[in-house]
């Protein structure tokens, strides 16, 4: 299994920071106007949440892995629910590379693989280097063509 770029943890932690800050602010507001318990409740809540998030991100990073097998793209991820997905190359409809603003800032990119399936219809591999993402996309495209889908559905 290939691991993701370790920088992806920074990305996830940044997202967690924003979420923790928002939730902390909500708790602070509730405390301020309804409970009147302590002004430290909000920031404390945010801090605990953030620490938990850091642990979670670390675990998530460790759980993530992808591999190009001879018949399928294999993914594994998930902390609480561990999910393994095999996407046969024959079933790949199209492949995207995506780079959001945060990705570009950190020099990351992601690959999205689409199938016609009902669930797992699109699988995302986050936290790749931009050229790595492009390479993976091209590789998947070639593998999809090689495996000759006479009819994708």
């Amino acid at each position: 299994m290939n691991a993701l770029q370790s920088r992806v943890r920074v990305r996830w932690v940044l997202v967690a920071l924003v979420v923790a800050a928002i939730l902390g602010a909500i708790v602070y507001a509730i405390d301020r106007f309804v409970l009147g318990f302590s002004p430290l409740l909000g920031p404390g809540f945010a801090a605990v949440l953030f620490v938990l998030a850091i642990v979670y991100v670390q675990l998530l990073y460790r759980s993530w892995g992808y591999r190009l097998d001879d018949d399928a793209l294999e993914l594994q991820r998930g902390v609480i629910t561990n999910v393994e997905t095999a996407v046969p190359y024959v079933r790949v409809q199209h492949v995207d590379t995506q780079r959001g603003p945060l990705d570009r800032l950190l020099g990351l990119g992601q690959v999205v693989v689409y199938t016609a399936g009902s669930r797992g219809a699109d699988v995302t591999i986050p936290g790749l280097k931009p050229d790595q993402a492009r390479e993976l996309r091209n590789r998947l495209r070639d593998l999809a063509i090689e495996s000759e889908p006479e009819d994708a559905v």
Binding site: A72, V83, T115, A116, G117
Partner: protein, 533 residues
């Protein structure tokens, strides 16, 4: 060719009235903007007439500007009054030709034709409406032409190089079909072939007993909507029934004066709702499936159904993704079952009701035999989840009941007059049987060419997935499952409908078995692809 002339009349009336009703909307706005201007009745009436005429003109223009044609390779529709649209649909790509006749249509002898392709999430072309015979003719003609386009396509495709296969087949079809029209022998040949295709072989007819059983055992979502609208009336009825049963002529408020009484009334209302929904469901199902027949015409399964609204559609057998055998508690008790098929394409019958019903209901053995005609699967022998999965369900249900009790305890503390806090605890008695039944009806079966899973007590669904239709294979384990060494395994296939989403998942099976199945499904897919299925 044009639509039925009567469609011009109905459409222009419809459009005219819609446009005219706009007049009231405009005057309502005008009242605010310039009240003195809109004082006169004549102005409103004038506006009304003007808009009505515009609407009628549009309806008439639509009729004159709408044309369809069967060309050698494509079905063409030219439409649009102001913005023109010219659509050419290659026969090869057409999946379904559906014909719908409402009760009005049947009186007048017309029908709506809808043409579907695999792409997109909406109907590719709608002819609203043509004469009923014309609809049948189109349905047959298009199916016939498509079958031949495909035959020629495959024959040509084998000869042509792989990369140019598509262009080559397109040309391959044009050649012979153009000469066909010129050559009298070919025309004769075509006519005789049409004759061959005409009455399809009937596979199944829904008998009157079966229709009754189906009506009485079905649940339709439509009945929920009915209940919501009918609730005020039903509410009054309940009060009436309660009053006549107990002899208490109490106003409605008295019934809900104490929380305990309110709960009892609530339970009564739920029971009443269930009976009503059942009755409504029965009627709806009866009307929908009256006179259901299923036949085979070449590569298509053709079905027809409905009492008031007659509906005729088709299921392309070469596009079948999964097959689901459905048997709810009542059907199982009476020894009946039905099955639905999921095709990758969109179809109108599918959009609101999930996948299409191929056989709504038949004797269990008969259903299995018919299903095997579509997908020849082996004898089904299911492997159940390990016993510790059952314990897992027991714990889960127990926790739900305890949670509910905690809620009612909290409520009884907050509301002094509420004493029935222990009521949910009675449900604890039901937990072990519920867990057992859940466990008992879950299972998987690994066949030669199919992966089969089964789930559900109330409505048991047996999903049959051919290996060559697999899209992705997913194995997942939650923290709790990892502790018990259990896992879910999903064999995912293509589907068009999000509503009727069908996951073929084997729940809570041994983790290492799930691992093996994960590999096995992938291997079998590859094997079927190499085998050239």
């Amino acid at each position: 060719m044009k639509l039925h002339p009567l469609s011009a009349v109905t459409r222009s009336l419809q459009r005219g009235l819609v446009a005219a009703s706009f007049a009231f909307f405009l005057t309502a706005i005008g009242q605010f903007a310039a009240p003195e201007l809109l004082g006169s009745f004549a102005l409103i009436a004038g506006l009304f007439v003007l808009l009505f005429v515009v609407g009628v003109a549009y309806g008439v223009a639509y009729y004159y500007r709408f044309e369809y044609a069967l060309t050698p390779d494509t079905f063409d529709v030219y439409s649009g009054v102001i913005g023109r649209q010219e659509r050419e649909i290659p026969y090869r790509r057409i999946q379904n030709v559906d014909v719908t006749e409402s009760i009005f249509h049947r009186i007048v002898g017309v029908a709506i034709v809808q043409i579907e392709t695999a792409g997109g999430s909406e109907t590719e072309a709608t002819l609203n409406f043509v004469a009923a015979d014309e609809a049948r003719r189109l349905q047959r003609e298009i199916r016939d032409r498509r079958a031949r386009a495909r035959d020629e396509g495959t024959a040509d495709g084998e000869a042509a190089a792989a990369e140019t296969a598509d262009e080559a087949t397109a040309e391959g079809v044009t050649g012979p079909s153009e000469t066909r029209h010129a050559d009298p022998e070919a025309v004769a040949d075509r006519l005789s072939r049409e004759g061959d295709l005409q009455p399809e072989t009937t596979l199944f007819e829904l008998g009157s007993t079966e229709l009754l059983v189906l009506a009485l055992t079905s649940f339709q979502l439509a009945s929920v909507a009915f209940l919501l609208f009918g609730f005020p009336i039903v509410g009054d009825l309940i009060v009436g029934v309660f009053a006549s049963l107990t002899g208490i002529e109490a106003p409605v408020d008295a019934l809900t004066s104490t929380p305990d009484l309110a709960i009892l009334v609530g339970l009564l209302a739920v029971a009443f709702a269930a009976v009503t929904m059942w009755a409504v469901s029965s009627v709806v199902t009866f009307l929908q499936y009256y006179g259901f027949t299923l036949g085979r015409q070449g590569e298509d399964l053709v079905y027809e159904r409905g009492l008031l609204q007659r509906y005729s559609g088709s299921i392309p057998t070469d596009k079948i993704q999964t097959l689901t055998i459905q048997e709810n508690v009542l059907m199982r008790a009476l020894g009946y079952a039905g099955f639905t098929v999921e095709t990758a394409g969109y179809s109108p019958g599918q959009s609101d009701q999930g996948p299409q019903s191929a056989i709504p209901l038949a004797g269990r053995e008969h259903t299995l035999a018919l299903a095997r005609e579509l997908e020849p699967f082996d004898e089904l022998s299911f492997t159940r989840s390990p016993k510790r999965a059952r314990r897992r369900y027991g714990v889960r249900y127990g926790l739900v009941v305890l949670g509910l009790s905690a809620l009612t305890v909290g409520l009884s503390v907050a509301v002094p007059a509420f004493d029935l806090w222990y009521l949910p605890l009675l449900l604890l008695v039901g937990v072990p049987p519920a867990a057992h039944l859940k466990w008992k009806h879950r299972g998987y079966c690994v066949g030669e060419d199919h992966f089969v899973v089964r789930d559900g007590f109330w409505n048991r669904k047996t999903r049959i997935v051919p290996y060559y239709r697999l899209q992705t294979v997913i194995r997942q384990r939650t923290v709790f499952q990892r502790r018990l060494e259990l896992a879910h395994l999903t064999a995912d296939t293509a589907t068009a409908s999000l509503l009727g989403r069908q996951d073929a998942t084997a729940y809570d099976i041994e983790a290492d078995v799930a691992g093996d199945l994960y590999e096995l499904n992938r291997d079998r897919l590859q094997a079927s692809l190499r085998g050239g299925n």
